[in-house]
Symmetry: C3
Subunit: 173 residues, 3 copies
Amino acid sequence: MTSSFSLTQRLARGFWQLSWLLLARWTPRPLHAWRVLLLRAWGAQVGEGCLVYADAVIWAPWQLTLGDGAAIGDAAEIYNVAPITLGARAVVSQKAFLCSASHDHRREDFPLTSAPITLGERAWVAARAIVLPGITIGAGAVVGAGSVVTRDVAAGCTVAGNPARVVRTAEGK
Amino acid sequence: MTSSFSLTQRLARGFWQLSWLLLARWTPRPLHAWRVLLLRAWGAQVGEGCLVYADAVIWAPWQLTLGDGAAIGDAAEIYNVAPITLGARAVVSQKAFLCSASHDHRREDFPLTSAPITLGERAWVAARAIVLPGITIGAGAVVGAGSVVTRDVAAGCTVAGNPARVVRTAEGK
Amino acid sequence: MTSSFSLTQRLARGFWQLSWLLLARWTPRPLHAWRVLLLRAWGAQVGEGCLVYADAVIWAPWQLTLGDGAAIGDAAEIYNVAPITLGARAVVSQKAFLCSASHDHRREDFPLTSAPITLGERAWVAARAIVLPGITIGAGAVVGAGSVVTRDVAAGCTVAGNPARVVRTAEGK
């Protein structure tokens, strides 16, 4: 668990965290446009009408892409060591955790590993759910509150549980 | 994820959150009686001898009913868009989440939906567990730490897991 | 849920929490050595080269033992009512919860119960996982993110889910 990142990367993240703390963390709830401006200034690709709550935790804005109208809820964690992309109107609810990184525990030095996470249009990751590295969640899919998603989720499906299982298919079965 | 609430409701909750922050959040642990006073002033129905920890998050006190001796632990979240009721001596442990609201993701406008949650006398929702909208947990039932409760729990049962399953019936089987 | 602890114990923990708040909680990430000093001053047995993040929550340092190079991540919770021991290079990731205490809900007075938790060398409890009282996690074992561990984990195994099941044995099957 020694640092897996260069000094430059660590400094960049330090300054980013400080900016968010000083300029965004305490801002009133409706000021989404202001927080989006800040994210864009730090390299995030953010569409129109996105909602990013003040308590959201974004690890690296330069690895974040939000489609139009996408939303990141209160205290949701976007741990984007690898890129994380939300499609248009995708929603990540409060305290959910999109976790793009892990460790290779079979190696002595416990190196960090990472893989991108993608949410399709109108996909919804409900409160306190966890999405593991490399996962793609299809358009309109729903991840139930508190679920842990270990496999890709097909468009239109609802998954729930830990590990998450399909509880409703796109056809409503 | 545009606001589902009227301006009046949002203002009321804003003032409520500010009151808790200024008057309760920083108060020493044993001052339960003071915090209960504050909850009552904001419309909560609270019995005798209740314990409400300073880090508890109560969304709308006017939708909260606590029986005598009920307890809400540290950083437990009472998300009571619909009414939430704890019976006498019911306990919600630290970081548990009683979640009375969801969204209808099949509709374009993603409207908020909600349904009441009720805990019977001496029911116990252990740390970090999640209880979904509309759930009733019977008297003396136990919800294991980290469980996600998707169905009603009968009196005296112990449930655990995600989704939560009965691991011990009222008869001890 | 009346207090299960003597006044002396509660005062000790109050002072401990205050020390951490004043002296450690706000310290920059790399100052692990300073935070380890503070833990040792409060009775923790801490080996060489340990990493303890500033947001880690340690209930009672005098009940904590860390082997060389062990790590406690951001906002991980070490609820050590009973002793908690991490072997050399064991890792507890962010927001994981080692929970050594519970309540006997079958008794009217809901007394606190507790049992020690032990992690072997190089064991890894990933982010947001929960480990229940009395559990031993063997050397080199891995607990997946968000899992809830209800039974001992054998050395070298990977477990995941809620309840946690073996998903990979020490032999890689």
